[in-house]
Structures are given as structure tokens and as C-alpha cells.
């Protein structure tokens, strides 16, 4: 598949450190791609290199197959949804959306602004100033402002971080749905693994300025290539160097005889989470493990002897 955006051996050094350390990545046209990583991993710098706010120390950014390293932000056909939206406070919602169209001397501005605002369901709020809009509405204006320019790639910098948790989950679905509808390539930067897993067609997990793994959400969650990826995407029980997700870790009072693997352990506590229970157990070898079990699967008491068991097929093995 032809890639709309490509990074080749991309490096960005600042005075004190190397924020991006040799990233190569090909992002396919028309999908939802995420850069996932902890804060300080270089994901935002990578996004800024693509937008043109930073110039690479070495390496190349290619858009539609052409190197754009020297192009200014206003010369690149990409657009950014900023973390705090960066709406122009002195302009109304409609004027914010029209801003880019006017700067690019486009035609049919009123109609296109109206359509963009309809796309994000902000009809009736056209003449509000950003200060008169809710957080979710501001984000929609930011989206409309970028989408109306029909960019090759829409860059989203932690777009949900400023929203309250409930709205955040709803916006995940909406963003994903919107990407499908408009067909524009979305590149999302986030530190929230749930966000990346739930929205992306593909994601790249970053750590310390480099990419650890690229794949589908299923790939990176179920078949992480490094311990870092395994640990960043979810909780992991480490047993003899093998990784196990809590949801595939089971508990048995009787010694299992079905051919699965097990270790003797002692219950050290449990945490009620509403939809499930996390039971903590310490293996005889000293490792702490967590088993996520349905809440009606009986109660376990601290000090109780138990077997921690699992299927070999659920093991995550690292070189």
C-alpha cells in the first residue's frame, strides 16, 4: 500500500537531549494511526516535525513521496488539532473555521464553513466565541477548522486529554467514526493506551525517542515484541521471565490437572473494581501476581494457599 506519510531515520536533537532518535515509519493513506508512548518519549516532537514547527537534525519527512523538511507549516498540507485546541479567542466558531480557507484564498467559504460545522454537529453555535463554548464543543471547532482544509494528514496532539473522562470515551468513538466518514488520514499522539487501542487501525509504540513496535492494536497487545511494550499496554505478571496478562491469569484451590501451567502461591489481598475483582497472590518464588476474575467467582482470603494457573498459549515470551 502506498504511504501518505513517511519518516526516514528521523532525528531531532535539542541543546540538552536527543528527543527523536532515528525513527523510520510509513503511514498508510486513509487510516487511523497512533503514536503511543509515555511522556517524554518523543512522540509530540515527532508530530511537530511532521507539522513543520520543528526542523529535523537529520533524516527526512516525506509527504506524498516528496521530502518536506524545508517546507514551512503554512506550505504543508497537514493540519494539527492542538492539545488545548489553540482556538483564536477573538474569533467566533465560524470565523475560526474560516481562518484557513481565507488564508489560502479558497472559494465558497460560507458553504464550506457551514458544512464543516455540520460535520462536527455545531449547527447553531456558529457565532459563539471559544470562551462561550464547552470543552467538547471547542474541540469540535478545532477539528472542523482543520478538516475543512482537507489536509493530507490530520495530526492530533493528545486531543482528548483536556476533556473529562466520560466525554473522553464518547469522543473516542466519534473521532474514529469521523475518520471513517471523511477518509482523511488521522495521526494521533497519545500516552493513553486505551485510547490508542480503541481508535487505531495501526499504532506505533514509542520509548526514549525510538519506535519499539508497529502493528495493529491486537498485535501490540497480544504479541508485544518487547517487555516495554507489554508493560506499557497493560498490566503484566512476570513469572520466570514469561509475561501474563491479569485477565488470562486464573486461580485454583485444587492442583490443576488439565495440562496447563501453574505455580503454588499465597493470596495477599484483593481489590474490588465493580465489574471484576483483582486478586493479588505471591508466588513461592516471591513474585507478586494479579489475577483479574469475575466478581462472582467466590472470595479469596489473605493467607490462603492457592495455585496461579494459565494456558501456555497466553504466555508472552521475549528474547
Amino acid at each position: 500500500m502506498e504511504s501518505i506519510l513517511e519518516l526516514r531515520e528521523l532525528v531531532k536533537e535539542f541543546a540538552s537531549h536527543r528527543a527523536v532518535d532515528g525513527i523510520s515509519l510509513a503511514i498508510p493513506r486513509g487510516g487511523f494511526f497512533s503514536l503511543l508512548g509515555p511522556s517524554g518519549c518523543g512522540k509530540t516532537t515527532t508530530l511537530r516535525l511532521i507539522a513543520g514547527f520543528e526542523t529535523p537534525t537529520s533524516g527526512n519527512v516525506l509527504l506524498n513521496g516528496a521530502v518536506v523538511n524545508e517546507q514551512k507549516p503554512y506550505e504543508r498540507n497537514v493540519s494539527t488539532v492542538f492539545q488545548n485546541y489553540a482556538l483564536f479567542p477573538h474569533l467566533t466558531a465560524a470565523e475560526n473555521v474560516a481562518f484557513g480557507l481565507k488564508r489560502k484564498n479558497q472559494r465558497d467559504i460560507p458553504r464550506r464553513v457551514r458544512e464543516a460545522l455540520e460535520l462536527v454537529r455545531l449547527e447553531g453555535k456558529e457565532s459563539r466565541l471559544p470562551a462561550q463554548l464547552s470543552g467538547g464543543e471547542r474541540q469540535r471547532v478545532a477539528l472542523a477548522r482543520s478538516l475543512v482544509l482537507e489536509p493530507d494528514v490530520l495530526l492530533l496532539d493528545e486531543p482528548l486529554a483536556a476533556l473529562d473522562p466520560k466525554l473522553r470515551k464518547q469522543m473516542r468513538l466519534e473521532l474514529k467514526e469521523m475518520q471513517r466518514r471523511v477518509g482523511i488520514t488521522f495521526l494521533l499522539v497519545t500516552h493513553d493506551q486505551e485510547e490508542a487501542l480503541s481508535m487505531s487501525d495501526q499504532l506505533a509504540v514509542m520509548n526514549a525517542g525510538a519506535i519499539e513496535q508497529v502493528g495493529t492494536p491486537q498485535d501490540v497487545y497480544l504479541r508485544p515484541r518487547t517487555r516495554f511494550v507489554a508493560g506499557f499496554l497493560g498490566a503484566v505478571n512476570w513469572i520466570d521471565g514469561v509475561g501474563l496478562r491479569p485477565e488470562v491469569t486464573r486461580l485454583s484451590r485444587a492442583r490443576p490437572s488439565n495440562g496447563g501451567r501453574f505455580r503454588p502461591a499465597t493470596i495477599t489481598g484483593s481489590v474490588f473494581l465493580g465489574n471484576c475483582v483483582h486478586v493479588l497472590a505471591r508466588l513461592e518464588s516471591g513474585e507478586e501476581t494479579v489475577a483479574e476474575i469475575p466478581r462472582n467467582n467466590g472470595t479469596y482470603h489473605s493467607g490462603e494457599a492457592i495455585h496461579v494457573c494459565w494456558n501456555p498459549s497466553d504466555e508472552m515470551i521475549f528474547p
Binding site: 514547527f53 477573538h90 484557513g100 488564508r103
Partner: protein, 282 residues
């Protein structure tokens, strides 16, 4: 809650020095000035009865109206030039990273010496045998001294020189608070640097520009020292007329009436600007 109440009581005390100052040194003298403006000039220059509005009627004399118009014109020119010079300077400083504080110090450096001394320094620079004319003559660029002093241009130069920091500082304060993401967003949406300046930076620094303009306009309008020294008595502004009434003309009631009228005009103007500002930022 008791802590809050105690604070409320203390707060009133914090205001005491300012109250004493404003009442004793501003409100009371101003009331006296208003009273003077309603009295009649005494036979030997003092104050006398009866109470009258004649001093205010004299203000519409074309002679004084011309001075008022000239003063407003000069203050407007000073404000405009300060804005044209000050805005780019403030923008430069706000984008100077670690050197910001150094540049700000340089802006307020002139305040380290007396205003009077600095205006005299201009006299030495601008007069016929001053540094500029002497240098230009030695270089053979001119043969007779240029008339740099004792004209409107010299007064304007002095006013701009004196009040420029009052424009730079408030404009700098708003530019400093401007979220850098906004100029990035403008570039991202296709705006080149000049359109970004015009459509984003300038409108968002309007509060600072308004504050700076008020701070430059008002003292320029009432300026007395600069036109007196650099204008050489030829450029008569309101401030000079007021001073003249209280000294040479010995007509205190009329001087007081001019002061009160000027203050009323300025007050109205400031209220108008502030209201517009509040309206645009609702």
C-alpha cells in the same frame, strides 16, 4: 470562615494608606481647584468673589480652542508614533527568550535619571551648536546648522522619547501572555508571518495597545516641561497655558478652569476606550 472574616477586616486596613493618599493629596486639592475655577480673579492676582462660570465661558475663545486642538493633535501624533515604534519593539522583546529581562531593563533604563536632565540632554544634542549639527558640519554634509530645536518636531521628538516606555511595557505584557500555540495554529492553517501578525497577534494585543495608548496620550496632552524646553515657547500646548495662568498671567481661576475642563475631557475619553475594550473582550 473566621479566618476569612479576619482577612476581610485586615483588608480594609491595607487600603488605608491609599485612601489617605488619594483623599488628602488628590481629591481634596482637586476640589480646591474646582472651587478656584468658579471664583473671580482678584485685583492683584489673588482670588475674589463673586462665584461665576465666566472662566469656563472664556474657554470657547478661538485662541484657546486652537491650543486645545493643537494639544490633542500633538498627543495623538505622539501616541501613534509610540505605537508604531513600541509595538515591534515589544514583539521583539517578547520573543527574545532568556534576554527578555535584559531588554526590559534597557527600556526602563532612562528612568534612572531625572526627566529634566534627559530633556536638557536633548537640548545639547539638538541646538545649533549641538552635537548633531556640529558633527554634520564637520562631515561637510551641511553648511549651516539645521533647525532641530524650538519647533513642533522637537517637541514631538521629546514627547515620543519620554513616553515610549509607557507604550512598550503594557504591549509587551499582553504579547508575553499570548499562547505560542496560537501563532503556530495560524501557520498550521496556512497563514504566513505577516497575516499571522495582522489577524492573530495584533487583535489579541488590543488590550495592551489600549492601555499603552492611554498611558502615552494623557501625559502627552498635559505635557508642560517638554514643550516648554524643546519648543522654546513657540509651541504652546494646554499645559503651558495652564502654567502661564498660574504664574505670569496671575489668573488662577482661569488656570483652574482649563485644568478641570481638560480633566473632564480626558476622563470621558478614557471611559470610552475602556468600555469599548470591555465590549470587544466579552
Amino acid at each position: 470562615m473566621t479566618g476569612g472574616g479576619a482577612w476581610e477586616r485586615l483588608r480594609a486596613w491595607f487600603l488605608l494608606p491609599a485612601r489617605v493618599w488619594m483623599i488628602g493629596l488628590f481629591a481634596a486639592p482637586f476640589a480646591i481647584v474646582i472651587a478656584y475655577s468658579l471664583l473671580t480673579r482678584g485685583a492683584y492676582g489673588g482670588l475674589g468673589q463673586p462665584w461665576t462660570l465666566d472662566n469656563y465661558r472664556r474657554l470657547v475663545d478661538p485662541l484657546y480652542l486652537e491650543v486645545v486642538v493643537r494639544s490633542f493633535g500633538m498627543a495623538a501624533e505622539t501616541t501613534a508614533i509610540c505605537l508604531v515604534l513600541g509595538f515591534p519593539l515589544a514583539l521583539f522583546i517578547s520573543r527574545s527568550g532568556k534576554r527578555k529581562n535584559l531588554y526590559l531593563q534597557l527600556v526602563i533604563l532612562p528612568f534612572w535619571t531625572s526627566f529634566l536632565v534627559r530633556i536638557y540632554a536633548w537640548l545639547f544634542l539638538l541646538r545649533d551648536t549641538g552635537l548633531i549639527n556640529t558633527a554634520l558640519q564637520h562631515l561637510g554634509l551641511i553648511h549651516a546648522p539645521l533647525p532641530l530645536l524650538y519647533n513642533d518636531g522637537a517637541v514631538l521628538l521629546g514627547l515620543v522619547y519620554g513616553y515610549l516606555p509607557f507604550m512598550v511595557l503594557p504591549v509587551y505584557a499582553t504579547l508575553e501572555r499570548l499562547d505560542p500555540a496560537l501563532t503556530e495554529a495560524a501557520a498550521d492553517l496556512g497563514a504566513k508571518p505577516w497575516p499571522t501578525l495582522w489577524h492573530v497577534v495584533l487583535p489579541l494585543s488590543a488590550p495592551g495597545i489600549a492601555a499603552g495608548s492611554i498611558l502615552v496620550f494623557i501625559p502627552s496632552l498635559g505635557a508642560y516641561l517638554t514643550p516648554d524646553l524643546l519648543g522654546g515657547g513657540r509651541t504652546v500646548l494646554i499645559g503651558n497655558v495652564v502654567q502661564n495662568q498660574f504664574t505670569n498671567a496671575r489668573d488662577w481661576p482661569f488656570g483652574a478652569a482649563i485644568s478641570v475642563a481638560l480633566m473632564a475631557l480626558v476622563g470621558t475619553l478614557v471611559l470610552f476606550v475602556l468600555r469599548r475594550q470591555r465590549g470587544s473582550l466579552a
